[in-house]
């Protein structure tokens, strides 16, 4: 262990383009980050690439390392680097660990189970609903939910995990102090309180699209299981899957209908051997948090009654709805359907409900919070 000060390591970390390999080479040669800085010209010669050399020389001249480090500390940003003892073990063991990371809030507890939930940004209602369920159930079970804070599946899962009282952690593509996407500002704030936001790039880095594939390897690095909810055939999510497999993490996917473009990626993963996640219990079982007998038992008996009660479409219509309302209800699905489609389905069942009456029933169902409307179409609320 060298005597390097955290502040000096931070200086090294904050040099644009500094990766683990270069940093280690420099540290091996000069012994400490402070020495690298003092011998910037010689150090620069060891850096591959003109841009990297210039960056190092520029940083050597600039502000005093302590001051910059103090500045980020004052903003609530924490930092650790590969040579330091508090560097997360899970990261240390992946093939391509980052030299340093910064975070706000805290880092995931490595003794607690963690599941990464990822998926499409433009997800369907089905994905939205399942992301919410998985997020909430995992959060409630004390599993840390790791994701990328993106719109769609990522954000929904994290938000619901937090709401269920769980912890959640987001890996960001840019600097840890930049909330991206802007629309998830509320999530960003609550993550810092009940979990953390983590970034490989130094604070202030703009979230450019080329940073995101590298970010994805950290999502899988922090988790024990990677869960994919909705991915198209060619999806950025599949990069995360590749990383997870390379890092030896288990991959689970939520199956979908074969006709849904958003489920093709997941179904392909299952074909290739990914685990099937039909509920959070499948994951808890894989994590060893539920014993198998219990799990199978649930599958057979309780599950169909208890768990499924909360599942979409499992609402028992007979009790609350009139005969006609029930007919309307049965024509609905998790996929949004237009009035024409609903009327068509009802007609196919041999019933005729005039349009104004159909609208009345649908609005009633909306008021009863059984059905939801989206863009003029109706779908079941979970």
């Amino acid at each position: 262990m060298n005597k390097d000060d955290r502040a000096d390591l931070y200086w090294l970390y904050a040099i644009p383009g500094m990766g683990l390999k270069t940093a280690e080479r420099l540290l091996d040669t000069f012994g400490s980050a402070a020495q690298i800085r003092k011998n910037a010209k010689r150090a620069a010669a060891l850096v591959g690439g003109e841009a990297g050399r210039q960056a190092l020389l520029a940083c050597a001249k600039s502000d005093h390392a302590e001051r910059t480090y103090e500045k980020i500390l004052a903003r609530g940003i924490r930092f650790t680097a590969f040579p330091l003892p508090d560097y997360p073990e899970k990261l240390r063991r992946i093939p391509d660990p980052p030299f340093g990371i910064t975070w706000m809030g805290s880092l995931p507890d490595e003794h607690l189970p963690a599941v990464a939930v990822v998926g499409a940004r433009q997800c369907s209602e089905y994905g939205r609903c399942l992301a919410a369920h998985f997020g909430a159930d995992l959060g409630a079970a004390g599993v840390q939910v790791i994701s990328g804070m993106a719109v769609g599946i990522d954000g929904i899962a994290q938000r619901n995990a937090l709401q269920a009282g769980g912890k959640s952690f987001a890996l960001l593509g840019g600097g840890v102090d930049i909330c991206y996407p802007q629309g998830n500002r509320d999530l960003y704030d609550s993550l810092r309180e009940n979990g953390g936001v983590i970034a490989e790039r130094p604070p202030g880095t703009e979230p450019l699209r080329q940073y995101f594939p590298a970010r994805n390897r950290l999502i899988s690095a922090f988790c024990d299981i990677l869960l994919v909810i909705e991915a198209r055939q060619r999806s950025g999510t599949l990069i995360t899957v590749d990383m997870a497999l390379e890092q030896g993490r288990d991959v689970f996917a939520v199956p979908g209908r074969v006709t849904d473009a958003l489920s093709v990626g997941c179904n392909n993963l299952i074909r290739q051997g990914a685990g099937i996640a039909s509920s959070a219990e499948d994951l808890l079982y894989a994590l060893g948090m539920k014993n198998s007998a219990n799990h199978v038992e649930k599958d057979r008996k309780t599950r169909s009654k208890k768990t499924d009660q909360r599942r979409p479409g499992a609402f028992s219509p007979g009790a609350v709805l009139t005969d006609e309302e029930a007919a309307v209800f049965s024509a609905l699905d998790l996929q949004p359907r237009s009035l024409d489609e609903i009327a068509g389905i009802i007609a196919a069942q041999g019933r005729h409900i005039p349009l104004p009456l159909l609208m009345e029933h649908l609005v009633d169902l909306c008021v009863k919070r059984v059905v939801r409307e989206e863009a003029g179409r109706f779908l079941l609320r979970n």
Binding site: R128, C129, S338, D340, P356, V363, C366
Partner: protein, 524 residues
């Protein structure tokens, strides 16, 4: 020698009468026009001189002064050629002063003495009748248009010679020279009331949109159709005029006045008897849409007065152009101010708009649509909230399946005629309800009118409150739902607004609540 001829002009769609004074006196030969005359009007002198020469009259080598009175109003257009010529002949003693007394004369001259059609005949003749004038001489092409005004003796003339011949004949024999134009208004309205070629029976499926179109037609509500490409939005829009109630005579005169000042009435069509249907391309400029020019001409919104303005691909219109619609949508008229004076055109049109739900057009079908929420919001954001706010009915036109398109059972689709019959019945109920007020349709009601004409029962009130809570509807949506529910109740033949009317009206608001409030899904 002095003579005065009665003529008229238009400013906007308001017209005024004008006295054309001609004086021929000794002095150096010259032709001077005064009276706040614009460039195009000033050219009249040359035309009059040559036309009279070619008609066989020589202008005296004298000092000729023409004054257009009142001199405070700027004169534009070419309709004073003939009055000047007649005034000149009168001053020269060719025509007796008595023969032109209380006769309104309008017309543009050609160099050969031919008289060409002019703009603005209808409003000027109407104004003349109000001022007690009973005879007018118009270009033959405008005679039918003038004859529409009941109680006016309209003489259509083809050339200056004809005009002179007519005026030179003693009053009792004049009808033999040129008989007054007559027009059968009832026949005009009969043909105008007939259905156009496009029929709702041609449209398979789309039950929700057809119903929304019926409600919109019955209450003159603005309507927005949202749907993917190929859903038939334009097809439905084109059939809209076919289910609207026919133009009343009063409405027809209002509309025709706008067309008259635009020069869009042709010789065969003396009066606009069908509701206008205009669908400008989205590249339309601000001036073309709302009216403009140094001397403002009516824009398409005024030509669509009492009719339908169909804006296809709404977000493709420039935002500035669309935002211009805000004031006319509220005031139902457009005021164009220029340094030379301002003029007002009517613009009480039914806005019919169609658009895709997202840039690719397939949202919310996630199998086909890959637009991000941000892209969708940006796309919808091109249409400003205040415009959407003024649209009462918003409905989704889903993409049809092959089965729907191939359906050939003609009896299944209702025809425009039977839809129109219901619309007319609902229209009658509105007419009775609003008797004695300025209101014409349910869509015209303001908040105070809604309180007066649309009382809700306690149960309905509670239902509506529940609806608001569960659907996150805006307060602005409240009045619109009641207005539309009133129309639905009218279609239903009900005096009371009942729950089913409110729920249906609510359905027409729901679409836009998701599209425009910017809220995410239920889990976010």
């Amino acid at each position: 020698m002095y003579a005065a001829v009665l003529s008229g002009g238009v400013r906007g769609v308001t017209s005024y009468l004008m006295k054309v004074e001609v004086d021929v006196s000794d002095g150096l030969p010259s032709f001077v026009m005064v009276g706040y005359v614009s460039g195009d009007t000033k050219e009249a002198g040359e035309r009059v001189r040559v036309a009279l020469k070619n008609a066989g009259y020589r202008m005296p080598p004298a000092r000729i002064t023409v004054n257009l009175s009142p001199a405070a109003i700027r004169k534009e257009g070419v309709s004073v050629d003939l009055p000047i010529a007649v005034g000149l002949l009168c001053a020269m003693g060719e025509i007796s002063e008595a023969s032109i007394r209380d006769v309104l004369i309008l017309g543009e001259l050609g160099l050969d003495g031919e008289i060409n059609r002019i703009r603005g005949t209808l409003p000027i003749v109407t104004k003349a009748l109000e001022s007690g004038i009973r005879t007018c001489i118009l270009p033959a092409d405008n005679a039918d248009e003038g004859a529409v005004v009941r109680g006016m003796r309209v003489i259509g003339v083809h050339s200056v010679q004809e005009a002179i011949a007519y005026l030179s004949t003693p009053a009792s024999d004049r009808d033999a020279v040129i008989p007054p134009a007559v027009i059968d208004l009832d026949a005009l309205f009969r043909t105008g009331g007939e259905m156009t070629g496009d029929d709702f029976a041609d449209i398979n499926g789309q039950i929700a949109v057809k119903r929304a179109a019926e409600v919109a037609a019955a209450g003159f509500h603005h309507l927005l159709l949202i749907g993917p490409p190929g859903a038939g939005k334009s097809m439905i829009a084109k059939r809209m005029p076919g289910i609207l109630p026919p133009l009343s005579e009063e409405e027809s005169l209002e509309v025709s006045a706008v067309y008259s000042v635009s020069g869009l009435l042709n010789a065969r069509e003396a009066l606009i008897t069908r509701r206008p249907f205009l669908s400008p391309h989205h590249t339309i400029t601000e001036a073309a849409l709302c009216g403009g020019g140094a001397s403002p001409r009516p824009g398409l919104i005024s030509l669509a007065h009492r009719g339908v303005l169909f804006l296809d691909e709404l977000p493709e219109f420039s935002r500035a152009t669309l935002d211009l619609l805000r004031q006319p949508l509220e005031d139902k008229r457009v005021q164009l101010a220029r340094t030379t004076g301002s003029c007002t055109y009517p613009a009480d049109f039914q806005l019919l708009a169609a658009m895709n739900p997202c840039p690719c057009g397939y949202y919310p079908d996630r199998n086909r649509c890959r637009c991000s929420d941000h892209e969708i919001r940006k796309y919808l954001g091109r249409v400003s909230g205040p415009i959407i706010d003024r649209i009462d009915i918003c409905v989704e036109a889903p993409r049809l399946s092959i089965g729907d398109l191939a359906q050939e059972k003609a009896g299944d689709n209702e025809s425009s005629a039977s839809i129109r019959a219901r619309v007319l019945a609902a229209r009658d109920r509105q007419k009775k309800r609003f008797a004695g007020t300025k209101l014409r349709f349910n869509a015209d009601m303001g908040p105070a009118d809604i309180r007066r004409f649309c009382p809700l029962g306690e149960a309905e009130e509670q239902m509506l409150a529940g609806l608001f809570r569960s659907m996150d509807l805006s307060a602005r949506a409240y009045h619109r739902i009641i207005k539309v529910a009133r129309t639905i109740a009218d279609l239903d033949g009900s005096d009371r607004i009942e729950k089913r009317h409110l729920t249906e009206a609510a359905c027409y608001r729901m679409t836009d609540s998701r599209y425009w409030t910017g809220q995410g899904g239920a889990y976010e």
